[in-house]
Symmetry: C2
Subunit: 125 residues, 2 copies
Amino acid sequence: MSSQPSASASVASSSRVLEHPDRSAIRLEAVLHALSDPMRLRVVRTLAAHGSEMACSDVELDVSKSTCTHHFRVLREAGVISQTYRGTSKMNGLRRADLDAVFPGLLDSVLAAAEGEERRLAAAH
Amino acid sequence: MSSQPSASASVASSSRVLEHPDRSAIRLEAVLHALSDPMRLRVVRTLAAHGSEMACSDVELDVSKSTCTHHFRVLREAGVISQTYRGTSKMNGLRRADLDAVFPGLLDSVLAAAEGEERRLAAAH
DNA sequence: GTCGTAGTACGGTAACTGTCAAACTACGAG
DNA sequence: CTCGTAGTTTGACAGTTACCGTACTACGAC
């Protein structure tokens, strides 16, 4: 049902391999659902701003480690991020190419929307 | 906290008035959550394709009336649609101007994404 | 006034979801 | 080998959500 991580992710460097949906198995509702949670949207915005892959622990969320694991898994299973183990760490990256191919402009419009909303809310306080 | 329906909706023609969030109270997460459900996405696509306002009963969903009421309310409370009573019917319209002002390009990219996904899934069968 | 329709409120069910602590595994450093 | 860290799994809890049937309200037609 799944394949190896997309081309944007490096080859796994441990025996632990993570399942990712094929580009063709990415569904809009799962993507929108994944992005509708504030924690996960924050992850995605952080990865987008950073540009290159980041370890889970480098993305600062104010929740427990088990909750972090939960949220990263939802993003991976929706096809929004790719994940690869590097020793004890797991490196995460946006599946930008896949998402832009399947839903052109969606990711950027969500990121821009979040940016704009954050600025408006900051200005309102 | 809410105001009268946005300018895109007509004046209410009955004593029943529905609360709608101000443009400034529309939140991205609520919008994405509202659009991540297949029933609600169908409503929004139908309203988008139709162009002008439609009655609840004119949007064909394969669920009970009480479930329809639930979904339309989620869309209204997220600020995605405006609703106005007309006799026994309730007229619904996309809050296109508000959504485009608050999250430029988001609605169109979601609609295009849904369109593209539908075509790909239809071609795959 | 009655009648039919659109839509609602309520209570219920079942599944989902986000949260966590605790115990765990996998890995690299030493 | 031990140790520390990253991340996981499990079970639990509480809240949310989509679904429904039923009884209801509001409205217009007559």
